[in-house]
Protein backbone atom coordinates (compact mmCIF):
# COMPACT_ATOMS: atom_id res chain seq x y z
CA UNK A 1 0.00 0.00 0.00
CA UNK A 2 1.49 3.37 -0.92
CA UNK A 3 1.57 6.46 1.28
CA UNK A 4 -1.07 8.42 -0.63
CA UNK A 5 -3.65 5.67 -0.07
CA UNK A 6 -2.83 5.55 3.63
CA UNK A 7 -3.29 9.35 3.93
CA UNK A 8 -6.61 9.22 2.10
CA UNK A 9 -7.87 6.51 4.47
CA UNK A 10 -6.70 8.63 7.45
CA UNK A 11 -8.63 11.66 6.19
CA UNK A 12 -11.80 9.62 5.55
CA UNK A 13 -11.72 8.05 9.01
CA UNK A 14 -11.17 11.50 10.53
CA UNK A 15 -14.07 13.02 8.57
CA UNK A 16 -16.56 10.28 9.54
CA UNK A 17 -15.46 10.47 13.14
CA UNK A 18 -15.75 14.22 13.17
CA UNK A 19 -19.31 14.26 11.78
CA UNK A 20 -20.43 11.59 14.26
CA UNK A 21 -19.00 13.38 17.30
CA UNK A 22 -20.27 16.79 16.16
CA UNK A 23 -23.81 15.44 15.83
CA UNK A 24 -23.63 13.79 19.23
CA UNK A 25 -22.29 16.97 20.91
CA UNK A 26 -25.00 19.04 19.33
CA UNK A 27 -27.81 16.73 20.48
CA UNK A 28 -26.58 16.15 24.02
CA UNK A 29 -25.95 18.94 26.41
CA UNK A 30 -22.34 17.90 26.75
CA UNK A 31 -20.79 21.27 25.89
CA UNK A 32 -23.47 23.15 27.69
CA UNK A 33 -22.63 21.27 30.90
CA UNK A 34 -18.96 22.08 30.51
CA UNK A 35 -19.73 25.73 29.95
CA UNK A 36 -22.60 26.12 32.33
CA UNK A 37 -20.61 28.78 34.11
CA UNK A 38 -20.57 30.79 30.91
CA UNK A 39 -23.78 32.69 30.78
CA UNK A 40 -24.50 34.08 27.38
CA UNK A 41 -23.48 31.21 25.34
CA UNK A 42 -24.02 31.55 21.62
CA UNK A 43 -25.88 28.47 20.12
CA UNK A 44 -23.17 28.39 17.46
CA UNK A 45 -20.58 28.08 20.20
CA UNK A 46 -21.41 24.35 20.54
CA UNK A 47 -20.20 23.69 17.03
CA UNK A 48 -17.23 25.98 17.48
CA UNK A 49 -15.95 24.16 20.57
CA UNK A 50 -16.68 20.77 19.06
CA UNK A 51 -14.53 21.64 16.05
CA UNK A 52 -11.71 22.80 18.29
CA UNK A 53 -11.66 19.69 20.51
CA UNK A 54 -12.30 17.19 17.76
CA UNK A 55 -9.66 18.61 15.44
CA UNK A 56 -7.08 18.00 18.10
CA UNK A 57 -8.47 14.55 18.91
CA UNK A 58 -8.66 13.49 15.25
CA UNK A 59 -5.22 14.78 14.43
CA UNK A 60 -3.79 12.57 17.15
CA UNK A 61 -5.83 9.52 16.00
CA UNK A 62 -4.93 10.08 12.34
CA UNK A 63 -1.24 10.33 13.07
CA UNK A 64 -1.37 7.22 15.26
CA UNK A 65 -3.15 5.16 12.58
CA UNK A 66 -0.80 6.47 9.95
CA UNK A 67 2.22 5.49 12.05
CA UNK A 68 0.88 1.96 12.58
CA UNK A 69 0.49 1.54 8.84
CA UNK A 70 4.04 2.70 8.15
CA UNK A 71 5.33 0.55 10.96
CA UNK A 72 3.58 -2.51 9.56
CA UNK A 73 4.86 -1.78 6.10
CA UNK A 74 8.46 -1.41 7.25
CA UNK A 75 8.16 -4.52 9.41
CA UNK A 76 7.09 -6.42 6.31
CA UNK A 77 10.08 -5.10 4.35
CA UNK A 78 12.50 -5.92 7.19
CA UNK A 79 11.06 -9.44 7.54
CA UNK A 80 11.32 -9.96 3.79
CA UNK A 81 14.93 -8.73 3.72
CA UNK A 82 15.86 -10.90 6.69
CA UNK A 83 14.50 -14.04 5.04
CA UNK A 84 16.31 -13.17 1.81
CA UNK A 85 19.59 -12.67 3.70
CA UNK A 86 19.08 -15.99 5.52
CA UNK A 87 18.51 -17.83 2.23
CA UNK A 88 21.55 -16.18 0.65
CA UNK A 89 23.75 -16.96 3.63
CA UNK A 90 22.64 -20.58 3.56
CA UNK A 91 23.25 -20.81 -0.19
CA UNK A 92 26.70 -19.22 0.10
CA UNK A 93 27.54 -21.52 2.98
CA UNK A 94 26.48 -24.53 0.91
CA UNK A 95 28.49 -23.32 -2.11
CA UNK A 96 31.63 -22.73 -0.05
CA UNK A 97 31.30 -26.15 1.48
CA UNK A 98 31.07 -27.78 -1.94
CA UNK A 99 33.95 -25.69 -3.29
CA UNK A 100 36.25 -26.64 -0.43
CA UNK A 101 35.21 -30.25 -0.79
CA UNK A 102 36.14 -29.91 -4.47
CA UNK A 103 39.64 -28.73 -3.56
CA UNK A 104 39.96 -31.53 -1.03
CA UNK A 105 38.73 -34.09 -3.57
CA UNK A 106 41.34 -32.91 -6.08
CA UNK A 107 44.25 -33.37 -3.69
CA UNK A 108 42.95 -36.58 -2.21
CA UNK A 109 42.23 -38.24 -5.57
CA UNK A 110 45.86 -37.72 -6.65
CA UNK A 111 47.06 -39.58 -3.58
CA UNK A 112 44.50 -42.38 -3.89
CA UNK A 113 45.20 -42.86 -7.60
CA UNK A 114 48.91 -43.25 -6.85
CA UNK A 115 48.11 -45.75 -4.12
CA UNK A 116 45.85 -47.74 -6.45
CA UNK A 117 48.47 -47.93 -9.21
CA UNK A 118 50.54 -50.79 -7.72
CA UNK A 119 47.39 -52.79 -6.90
CA UNK A 120 46.04 -52.49 -10.43
CA UNK A 121 49.40 -52.83 -12.14
CA UNK A 122 50.89 -55.66 -10.08
CA UNK A 123 47.81 -57.92 -10.17
CA UNK A 124 48.33 -57.95 -13.94
CA UNK A 125 52.03 -58.72 -13.50
CA UNK A 126 51.34 -61.48 -10.94
CA UNK A 127 48.82 -63.10 -13.27
CA UNK A 128 51.47 -63.41 -15.94
CA UNK A 129 54.19 -64.48 -13.47
CA UNK A 130 52.10 -67.28 -11.98
CA UNK A 131 51.07 -68.36 -15.46
CA UNK A 132 50.02 -72.00 -15.78
CA UNK A 133 50.76 -72.78 -12.12
CA UNK A 134 47.82 -70.68 -10.95
CA UNK A 135 45.03 -72.55 -9.14
CA UNK A 136 41.44 -71.46 -9.88
CA UNK A 137 41.32 -69.80 -6.47
CA UNK A 138 44.52 -67.80 -7.09
CA UNK A 139 43.05 -66.44 -10.30
CA UNK A 140 39.73 -65.70 -8.60
CA UNK A 141 41.47 -63.77 -5.82
CA UNK A 142 43.63 -61.82 -8.24
CA UNK A 143 40.51 -60.91 -10.22
CA UNK A 144 38.74 -59.79 -7.05
CA UNK A 145 41.67 -57.52 -6.12
CA UNK A 146 41.65 -56.15 -9.65
CA UNK A 147 37.88 -55.54 -9.71
CA UNK A 148 38.01 -53.86 -6.34
CA UNK A 149 40.81 -51.53 -7.48
CA UNK A 150 38.81 -50.66 -10.62
CA UNK A 151 35.78 -49.90 -8.45
CA UNK A 152 37.89 -47.59 -6.28
CA UNK A 153 39.14 -45.88 -9.45
CA UNK A 154 35.51 -45.24 -10.52
CA UNK A 155 34.67 -43.70 -7.15
CA UNK A 156 37.69 -41.39 -7.40
CA UNK A 157 36.58 -40.38 -10.92
CA UNK A 158 33.16 -39.45 -9.59
CA UNK A 159 34.61 -37.42 -6.74
CA UNK A 160 36.85 -35.62 -9.21
CA UNK A 161 33.86 -34.04 -10.92
CA UNK A 162 33.91 -31.56 -8.02
CA UNK A 163 37.36 -30.33 -8.83
CA UNK A 164 37.23 -30.45 -12.58
CA UNK A 165 36.96 -27.18 -14.45
CA UNK A 166 34.93 -26.08 -17.46
CA UNK A 167 37.57 -26.86 -20.06
CA UNK A 168 37.30 -30.55 -19.30
CA UNK A 169 33.64 -30.59 -20.24
CA UNK A 170 32.68 -30.85 -23.87
CA UNK A 171 30.29 -27.94 -24.08
CA UNK A 172 28.40 -27.84 -27.38
CA UNK A 173 25.16 -26.27 -28.53
CA UNK A 174 22.34 -28.83 -28.61
CA UNK A 175 18.65 -28.64 -29.42
CA UNK A 176 17.25 -29.67 -26.04
CA UNK A 177 13.93 -30.72 -27.58
CA UNK A 178 15.65 -33.59 -29.37
CA UNK A 179 18.45 -34.30 -26.91
CA UNK A 180 16.17 -34.53 -23.86
CA UNK A 181 13.93 -37.01 -25.71
CA UNK A 182 16.95 -39.16 -26.48
CA UNK A 183 18.27 -39.02 -22.89
CA UNK A 184 14.84 -39.74 -21.38
CA UNK A 185 14.46 -42.75 -23.71
CA UNK A 186 17.78 -44.07 -22.44
CA UNK A 187 16.96 -43.34 -18.78
CA UNK A 188 13.53 -44.96 -19.11
CA UNK A 189 15.16 -48.19 -20.24
CA UNK A 190 17.12 -48.28 -16.97
CA UNK A 191 14.22 -47.93 -14.52
CA UNK A 192 11.90 -50.85 -13.69
CA UNK A 193 8.99 -51.32 -16.11
CA UNK A 194 6.53 -50.72 -13.25
CA UNK A 195 7.61 -47.07 -13.32
CA UNK A 196 5.88 -45.06 -16.04
CA UNK A 197 7.44 -41.98 -17.60
CA UNK A 198 5.42 -39.09 -19.00
CA UNK A 199 6.74 -36.17 -21.06
CA UNK A 200 5.61 -32.62 -21.48
CA UNK A 201 7.10 -29.88 -23.65
CA UNK A 202 9.32 -32.22 -25.68
CA UNK A 203 9.14 -35.52 -27.53
CA UNK A 204 6.09 -36.44 -29.64
CA UNK A 205 3.79 -33.76 -28.23
CA UNK A 206 6.26 -30.89 -28.64
CA UNK A 207 6.25 -28.22 -31.32
CA UNK A 208 9.49 -29.04 -33.11
CA UNK A 209 9.41 -25.80 -35.08
CA UNK A 210 10.62 -23.98 -31.95
CA UNK A 211 13.94 -25.60 -31.00
CA UNK A 212 15.48 -24.81 -27.62
CA UNK A 213 19.25 -24.40 -28.01
CA UNK A 214 21.38 -24.89 -24.92
CA UNK A 215 25.16 -25.00 -24.43
CA UNK A 216 25.86 -28.18 -22.50
CA UNK A 217 27.97 -31.28 -22.07
CA UNK A 218 25.99 -34.21 -23.49
CA UNK A 219 27.55 -36.83 -21.17
CA UNK A 220 27.17 -34.55 -18.16
CA UNK A 221 23.47 -33.95 -18.73
CA UNK A 222 22.89 -37.65 -19.38
CA UNK A 223 24.64 -38.52 -16.09
CA UNK A 224 22.59 -35.91 -14.23
CA UNK A 225 19.26 -37.15 -15.59
CA UNK A 226 20.19 -40.80 -15.06
CA UNK A 227 20.99 -40.03 -11.42
CA UNK A 228 17.63 -38.36 -10.92
CA UNK A 229 15.80 -41.24 -12.60
CA UNK A 230 17.56 -43.80 -10.41
CA UNK A 231 16.73 -41.78 -7.28
CA UNK A 232 13.10 -41.35 -8.38
CA UNK A 233 12.66 -45.07 -9.03
CA UNK A 234 14.16 -45.84 -5.61
CA UNK A 235 11.73 -43.39 -4.00
CA UNK A 236 8.80 -45.21 -5.63
CA UNK A 237 9.24 -48.71 -4.25
CA UNK A 238 6.59 -50.58 -6.22
CA UNK A 239 5.33 -48.43 -9.03
CA UNK A 240 4.81 -44.81 -9.86
CA UNK A 241 5.16 -42.09 -12.41
CA UNK A 242 8.09 -39.87 -13.33
CA UNK A 243 6.99 -36.67 -15.03
CA UNK A 244 9.58 -34.94 -17.16
CA UNK A 245 8.68 -31.43 -18.28
CA UNK A 246 10.65 -28.98 -20.39
CA UNK A 247 9.83 -25.28 -20.13
CA UNK A 248 11.48 -21.96 -20.83
CA UNK A 249 11.81 -19.47 -18.01
CA UNK A 250 13.15 -15.91 -18.08
CA UNK A 251 14.77 -15.16 -14.72
CA UNK A 252 15.01 -11.54 -13.59
CA UNK A 253 17.95 -10.32 -11.51
CA UNK A 254 16.32 -11.12 -8.15
CA UNK A 255 15.26 -14.63 -9.13
CA UNK A 256 18.66 -15.34 -10.66
CA UNK A 257 20.46 -14.03 -7.54
CA UNK A 258 18.47 -16.38 -5.34
CA UNK A 259 19.63 -19.29 -7.50
CA UNK A 260 23.19 -17.93 -7.83
CA UNK A 261 23.15 -17.94 -11.60
CA UNK A 262 23.29 -15.15 -14.18
CA UNK A 263 19.95 -13.57 -15.11
CA UNK A 264 18.50 -14.35 -18.51
CA UNK A 265 16.54 -17.04 -20.27
CA UNK A 266 16.78 -20.66 -19.06
CA UNK A 267 15.57 -24.02 -20.20
CA UNK A 268 14.11 -25.74 -17.15
CA UNK A 269 13.93 -29.52 -17.03
CA UNK A 270 11.63 -30.65 -14.25
CA UNK A 271 11.78 -34.24 -13.09
CA UNK A 272 9.00 -35.07 -10.63
CA UNK A 273 8.11 -38.36 -8.99
CA UNK A 274 5.22 -39.42 -6.77
CA UNK A 275 7.47 -41.40 -4.43
CA UNK A 276 8.01 -41.20 -0.69
CA UNK A 277 9.36 -37.62 -0.68
CA UNK A 278 11.93 -36.21 1.74
CA UNK A 279 12.00 -34.49 5.11
CA UNK A 280 13.33 -30.94 5.43
CA UNK A 281 16.47 -32.35 7.07
CA UNK A 282 17.12 -34.67 4.14
CA UNK A 283 16.58 -31.87 1.62
CA UNK A 284 19.23 -29.75 3.33
CA UNK A 285 21.79 -32.54 2.92
CA UNK A 286 21.08 -34.19 -0.42
CA UNK A 287 23.62 -32.18 -2.42
CA UNK A 288 26.41 -33.03 0.02
CA UNK A 289 28.88 -35.68 -1.10
CA UNK A 290 28.67 -39.06 0.66
CA UNK A 291 25.13 -38.39 1.87
CA UNK A 292 23.05 -41.45 1.15
CA UNK A 293 19.80 -42.99 2.32
CA UNK A 294 20.46 -46.24 0.51
CA UNK A 295 22.18 -49.09 2.31
CA UNK A 296 22.94 -51.28 -0.69
CA UNK A 297 26.68 -51.09 -0.13
CA UNK A 298 27.23 -50.01 -3.71
CA UNK A 299 26.11 -46.45 -3.36
CA UNK A 300 28.74 -43.94 -2.40
CA UNK A 301 26.19 -41.12 -2.01
CA UNK A 302 27.74 -39.11 -4.79
CA UNK A 303 24.87 -38.98 -7.26
CA UNK A 304 23.28 -35.67 -6.37
CA UNK A 305 26.51 -33.97 -5.33
CA UNK A 306 27.86 -34.93 -8.73
CA UNK A 307 24.72 -33.67 -10.47
CA UNK A 308 25.08 -30.35 -8.64
CA UNK A 309 28.71 -30.05 -9.78
CA UNK A 310 27.82 -30.90 -13.37
CA UNK A 311 25.01 -28.35 -13.57
CA UNK A 312 27.29 -25.67 -12.06
CA UNK A 313 29.93 -26.47 -14.68
CA UNK A 314 27.34 -25.89 -17.39
CA UNK A 315 26.48 -22.44 -15.85
CA UNK A 316 23.17 -23.78 -14.61
CA UNK A 317 21.89 -25.03 -11.30
CA UNK A 318 19.59 -27.58 -9.70
CA UNK A 319 16.81 -27.00 -7.18
CA UNK A 320 14.64 -29.41 -5.25
CA UNK A 321 11.22 -29.35 -3.64
CA UNK A 322 9.78 -32.31 -1.82
CA UNK A 323 6.91 -33.30 0.43
CA UNK A 324 6.93 -36.45 2.52
CA UNK A 325 4.44 -38.96 1.19
CA UNK A 326 3.68 -36.88 -1.90
CA UNK A 327 6.85 -36.82 -3.99
CA UNK A 328 9.93 -34.92 -5.07
CA UNK A 329 10.59 -32.53 -7.91
CA UNK A 330 14.02 -31.54 -9.18
CA UNK A 331 14.44 -28.60 -11.53
CA UNK A 332 17.51 -28.36 -13.73
CA UNK A 333 18.26 -24.85 -15.02
CA UNK A 334 20.38 -24.56 -18.16
CA UNK A 335 21.08 -21.21 -19.86
CA UNK A 336 19.60 -20.87 -23.33
CA UNK A 337 22.25 -20.28 -25.96
CA UNK A 338 21.80 -16.66 -27.02
CA UNK A 339 23.76 -16.69 -30.29
CA UNK A 340 22.05 -19.71 -31.77
CA UNK A 341 18.63 -18.46 -30.69
CA UNK A 342 19.14 -15.12 -32.44
CA UNK A 343 20.32 -16.83 -35.59
CA UNK A 344 17.27 -19.10 -35.60
CA UNK A 345 14.93 -16.20 -35.12
CA UNK A 346 16.40 -14.23 -38.01
CA UNK A 347 16.32 -17.17 -40.40
CA UNK A 348 13.22 -19.03 -39.23
CA UNK A 349 9.61 -18.02 -39.15
CA UNK A 350 8.40 -16.05 -36.23
CA UNK A 351 5.48 -17.98 -34.81
Amino acid sequence: MDLRKILLIDILIAAVFFIAVAMWAHESQFLHEIHEDIEDINPNGYVYYTVLIMTFFLAVTGIAIHQIHIHRQSMYIIKHLCSQVAVETENRHQRHKLESLGALAGGLSHEINNALQPILGLTGVLRTEIGDEATPNTLKYLDTINQSALHARDIVQKVLIFSRKDNELEIKTHNLLELLDEIVNFATSLVPSSVSVSRQGFGASADISKPIFVDLDHTGLTQAILNLFVNASHAMEQSGNIKVRLTKNRLNKNEANMLHIAHGEYAVISIADNGCGMSAEMISKIFEPFYTTKNTGHNAGLGLAMTYGLLKDMNGTITVSSFEGIGTEFQLYLPISKEKEDKEESTGEIV
Binding site: G107, G124, K165
Partner: protein, 124 residues
Protein backbone atom coordinates in the same frame (compact mmCIF):
# COMPACT_ATOMS: atom_id res chain seq x y z
CA UNK B 1 66.60 -53.11 -27.60
CA UNK B 2 64.29 -50.18 -26.80
CA UNK B 3 65.53 -48.19 -23.83
CA UNK B 4 62.83 -46.87 -21.47
CA UNK B 5 63.53 -44.24 -18.81
CA UNK B 6 61.07 -44.13 -15.91
CA UNK B 7 60.87 -40.91 -13.87
CA UNK B 8 58.63 -41.36 -10.86
CA UNK B 9 59.03 -40.14 -7.26
CA UNK B 10 56.58 -42.65 -5.74
CA UNK B 11 58.54 -45.85 -5.03
CA UNK B 12 55.53 -48.19 -5.27
CA UNK B 13 54.48 -46.80 -8.64
CA UNK B 14 58.10 -47.02 -9.83
CA UNK B 15 58.35 -50.69 -8.85
CA UNK B 16 55.04 -51.37 -10.60
CA UNK B 17 56.08 -49.69 -13.84
CA UNK B 18 59.37 -51.56 -13.80
CA UNK B 19 57.59 -54.88 -13.17
CA UNK B 20 55.12 -54.34 -16.00
CA UNK B 21 57.83 -53.31 -18.48
CA UNK B 22 60.14 -56.15 -17.47
CA UNK B 23 57.60 -58.53 -18.94
CA UNK B 24 58.52 -57.16 -22.34
CA UNK B 25 61.89 -57.16 -23.98
CA UNK B 26 62.90 -53.64 -22.91
CA UNK B 27 65.92 -52.00 -21.31
CA UNK B 28 64.76 -50.07 -18.24
CA UNK B 29 66.32 -47.23 -16.25
CA UNK B 30 64.59 -45.78 -13.18
CA UNK B 31 64.97 -42.26 -11.73
CA UNK B 32 63.28 -40.66 -8.77
CA UNK B 33 63.43 -37.07 -9.97
CA UNK B 34 63.78 -34.88 -13.07
CA UNK B 35 67.39 -33.74 -12.51
CA UNK B 36 68.48 -37.34 -12.12
CA UNK B 37 66.71 -38.18 -15.40
CA UNK B 38 68.48 -35.40 -17.30
CA UNK B 39 71.84 -36.72 -16.02
CA UNK B 40 70.91 -40.32 -16.98
CA UNK B 41 69.97 -39.17 -20.49
CA UNK B 42 73.46 -37.65 -20.94
CA UNK B 43 75.24 -40.90 -20.12
CA UNK B 44 72.80 -43.32 -21.75
CA UNK B 45 70.01 -41.74 -23.90
CA UNK B 46 66.61 -43.45 -23.81
CA UNK B 47 64.16 -43.91 -26.71
CA UNK B 48 61.15 -43.28 -24.58
CA UNK B 49 60.58 -41.53 -21.25
CA UNK B 50 57.68 -42.33 -18.96
CA UNK B 51 57.43 -39.47 -16.51
CA UNK B 52 55.19 -38.55 -13.61
CA UNK B 53 53.96 -34.94 -13.69
CA UNK B 54 53.60 -33.89 -10.07
CA UNK B 55 57.10 -34.28 -8.59
CA UNK B 56 59.12 -32.23 -6.12
CA UNK B 57 61.64 -29.86 -7.73
CA UNK B 58 61.44 -29.86 -11.50
CA UNK B 59 58.02 -31.25 -12.50
CA UNK B 60 57.21 -33.59 -15.38
CA UNK B 61 56.07 -30.79 -17.72
CA UNK B 62 59.32 -28.82 -17.26
CA UNK B 63 61.30 -32.02 -17.73
CA UNK B 64 59.42 -32.82 -20.95
CA UNK B 65 60.08 -29.33 -22.36
CA UNK B 66 63.77 -29.66 -21.55
CA UNK B 67 64.00 -33.18 -23.03
CA UNK B 68 62.23 -32.20 -26.27
CA UNK B 69 64.67 -29.29 -26.61
CA UNK B 70 67.75 -31.47 -26.06
CA UNK B 71 66.51 -34.65 -27.82
CA UNK B 72 63.88 -33.71 -30.46
CA UNK B 73 63.25 -37.36 -31.44
CA UNK B 74 62.49 -38.57 -27.92
CA UNK B 75 59.02 -39.95 -27.18
CA UNK B 76 57.42 -38.97 -23.89
CA UNK B 77 54.50 -40.54 -22.04
CA UNK B 78 53.22 -38.44 -19.12
CA UNK B 79 51.39 -40.19 -16.28
CA UNK B 80 49.52 -38.58 -13.41
CA UNK B 81 47.06 -39.32 -10.64
CA UNK B 82 45.07 -36.27 -11.74
CA UNK B 83 43.45 -33.85 -9.32
CA UNK B 84 44.21 -30.20 -8.93
CA UNK B 85 47.04 -29.84 -6.51
CA UNK B 86 47.48 -26.17 -7.42
CA UNK B 87 45.01 -23.46 -8.35
CA UNK B 88 45.51 -24.27 -12.02
CA UNK B 89 42.52 -24.27 -14.35
CA UNK B 90 43.03 -27.80 -15.60
CA UNK B 91 44.33 -31.17 -14.49
CA UNK B 92 48.08 -31.92 -14.65
CA UNK B 93 47.52 -34.22 -17.65
CA UNK B 94 45.65 -31.50 -19.55
CA UNK B 95 48.51 -29.09 -18.92
CA UNK B 96 51.09 -31.63 -20.03
CA UNK B 97 49.37 -32.51 -23.33
CA UNK B 98 51.07 -29.83 -25.51
CA UNK B 99 54.55 -30.94 -24.41
CA UNK B 100 54.34 -34.74 -24.54
CA UNK B 101 53.38 -37.43 -27.08
CA UNK B 102 50.85 -39.30 -24.97
CA UNK B 103 49.24 -39.11 -21.53
CA UNK B 104 47.85 -41.80 -19.23
CA UNK B 105 45.89 -41.33 -16.05
CA UNK B 106 46.81 -43.31 -12.95
CA UNK B 107 45.78 -45.89 -11.92
CA UNK B 108 46.04 -47.85 -15.18
CA UNK B 109 46.11 -51.61 -15.80
CA UNK B 110 49.04 -53.42 -17.41
CA UNK B 111 47.01 -53.78 -20.60
CA UNK B 112 46.23 -50.05 -20.72
CA UNK B 113 49.92 -49.19 -20.38
CA UNK B 114 50.92 -51.68 -23.03
CA UNK B 115 48.24 -50.38 -25.41
CA UNK B 116 49.53 -46.83 -24.92
CA UNK B 117 53.12 -47.88 -25.63
CA UNK B 118 51.99 -49.68 -28.79
CA UNK B 119 50.30 -46.48 -30.02
CA UNK B 120 53.66 -44.74 -29.49
CA UNK B 121 55.32 -47.31 -31.75
CA UNK B 122 57.12 -49.29 -29.03
CA UNK B 123 57.36 -52.98 -29.79
CA UNK B 124 56.64 -55.05 -26.68
Amino acid sequence: MTHVLIVEDNINVRITLEAVLQQSNLEITCCTQAIEALAAMKTHPADIVITDIVMPGMNGIELSQELKKLYPDIKILAISGGGHTTNADSSPLEQAKPFVDETLEKPFSTDELKAKLSIMGIKL
